[in-house]
């Protein structure tokens, strides 16, 4: 009997969806629009995240070491720094490399290259380039470098200069911008998702409002609440699946079209590639939201007319 009922409910759900053609079409379209908004939010967040990460990785601190510092002393400082929880990466630029970089940078500047030739030894010091996990953490790293912990084994100062103090304000401003951008992104997401939920819920409520007489007739012939509600919930799920599929289909050409534009504009992320690479996840979110919202909205909307 259980199985028969499930079969009947599912069939009634499909038949109801089909015969209420216009209402179903309208519901699917509205749901598609709102799922599209949810999908856009996913892309928006991904772009924002990539841009912010890109920005973050551009912030770094250089530690200029004394020219006399020995290789192993530098390496042990590097290990020490890498062990700090705030530090993401430390890269070591040897004195020779620093000279090479300097020469490259100034290859069209003859007087400087001439001046360099006059100097007997390599005047440049080795550099440790530090990237922190979060821009707000540079101060702690700079403080560490100023403390006795950064001294070499025989208590010699090998750190000549840390350029944190020069860049302090810029880093602070940047990290504030990144923080507010994140918070703004979250707020926008929340508002859009809540609006989408309300729109879907109300659309389905309207669709079921047109069937309230029907529900009262079903109650009158003694149908159980579950049996009345089932087909509506199934119809809601169908709305969700169709709207989800439609949304995913719209995103394919759209992201393809926007792909290169976003890549150039927002340093690094191509929404088309992002869509293809994360298709499973995006499919899950869009379809899942559609089906869940369709089912839950229908369930709640029918409940209103069952309580008599």
């Amino acid at each position: 009997m259980m199985w028969t009922n499930v079969k009947r409910v599912v069939r009634a759900g499909f038949v109801g969806f089909w015969r209420n053609g216009f209402v179903s079409l309208a519901s699917v379209l509205v749901m598609t629009v709102t799922l599209f908004v949810i999908g856009s939010v996913i892309f928006l967040l991904a772009t924002l995240d990539a841009s912010l990460n890109n920005l973050k990785s551009k912030v770094d601190v250089n530690v200029y070491l004394t020219t006399t510092a020995a290789e192993e002393e530098i390496m042990s400082l590097k290990t020490l720094l890498e062990a700090l929880p705030e530090v993401k990466t430390v890269s070591y630029v040897t004195r020779e490399q620093a000279l090479e970089n300097f020469k490259n940078r100034h290859q069209n500047d003859a007087p400087i290259l001439e001046a360099l030739k006059e100097v007997p030894d390599n005047p440049l010091s080795a550099v440790l380039n530090i990237v922190a996990k979060d821009p707000g953490q540079y101060e702690a790293i700079a403080n560490f470098l100023k403390s006795d912990n950064a001294l070499s084994k025989n208590q010699q100062v090998i750190v000549r200069k840390v350029n944190y103090d020069d860049n302090k304000t810029a880093i602070a401003v940047l990290s504030r911008i990144i923080d507010s951008a994140k918070r703004l992104g979250l707020a926008v997401t929340l508002v859009l998702v809540i609006i989408s939920l309300l729109i879907i819920f109300n659309t389905i409520r309207l669709a079921i409002y047109t069937a309230r007489e029907e529900i009262s007739v079903m109650r009158l012939v003694g149908a159980s609440n579950k049996y009345i509600r089932g087909p509506f919930v199934i119809s809601g799920v169908i709305y969700g699946v169709l709207a989800g599929a439609l949304t995913l289909m719209i995103f394919y050409p759209l992201t393809y079209w926007l792909g290169s534009a976003t890549e150039n504009f927002f340093s690094g992320i191509n929404v088309y590639r992002y869509y293809i690479l994360n298709f499973g996840q995006i499919f899950g979110i869009i379809m899942g939201s559609g089906v869940l919202l369709g089912a839950v909205s229908s369930y709640l909307a029918v409940r209103r007319y069952l309580n008599v």
Partner: protein
């Protein structure tokens, strides 16, 4: 079988739909309830189906107080009562067949029973040819026949017909009443409300006359007298 024990229904201070109604309907009876609009006929019927709660008094179906029933038991009770209304109340998106099948499915009947009973019962009300028509493709009289077929298909103990002929022409009215009489002859209790004089006089069974929420007459083989 149905017993009203001093039932009152008061909507607001100066509007009593029913006041102190006591009434017994015995099995296999054909009871007509007559009265002007607003006399309380429909309220009386809604009480039996537990669609309305009485302000005072109790309503019994057999030995159970219908207003003390839980939802599940109420559904079981409603399956024992077939209902027919003036406005037909068919499911608009279902064919004649499906409308009747729905009532059987709701009652938990198996597919084989549904497949054999639905055409049979439609034949009984004279609609064998309109089995796959939607309500909007049927005339008023035909819709009412579908409604009656749906009401009787689960072999209920009682048929409640609330102004079933209100929207029908005289010929259809006559035929619908004949169908109800036939159902009653087969052993089902019928409660009919109407304000159609011709209907009452042609039935020639028990007539209860209501006015302003009170029963003012109860005649064994009554005529319409308002």
């Amino acid at each position: 079988m149905i017993y009203f024990d001093n039932v009152s229904k008061i909507y607001s201070d100066d509007c009593a739909a029913l006041s102190n109604v006591t009434l017994t309907v015995t099995p296999k009876e054909f009871v007509s309830i007559v009265g002007h609009s607003g006399a309380g006929k429909t309220t009386l019927i809604k009480m039996i189906l537990a669609e309305e709660r009485p302000t005072k008094g109790r309503v019994f179906f057999e030995s159970t107080d219908v207003h003390l029933l839980k939802k599940r038991q109420m559904n079981l009770l409603r399956r024992r009562i077939g209902t027919v209304f003036q406005d037909f109340r068919l499911l608009p998106n279902k064919t004649s067949y499906e409308n009747i099948a729905f009532a059987m499915e709701a009652a938990g009947r198996i597919d084989e029973e549904i497949e054999s009973d639905v055409p049979h019962v439609l034949e009984l009300v004279g609609l064998g040819k309109k089995i796959w028509s939607f309500p909007h493709e049927l005339s008023g009289g035909e819709k009412q026949r579908v409604a009656i077929a749906r009401a009787i298909v689960n072999q209920p103990d009682v048929i409640i017909a609330d102004e079933p002929t209100g929207n029908l022409d005289p010929i259809n009215t006559y035929e619908i009443i004949q169908i109800l009489k036939k159902i009653n002859d087969l052993g089902t209790t019928v409660i009919l409300t109407t304000h159609n004089k011709g209907v009452i006089d042609s039935v020639g069974r028990r007539v209860i006359t209501m006015e302003n929420g009170k029963i003012i007459r109860d005649d064994k083989e009554g005529k319409y007298s308002l």
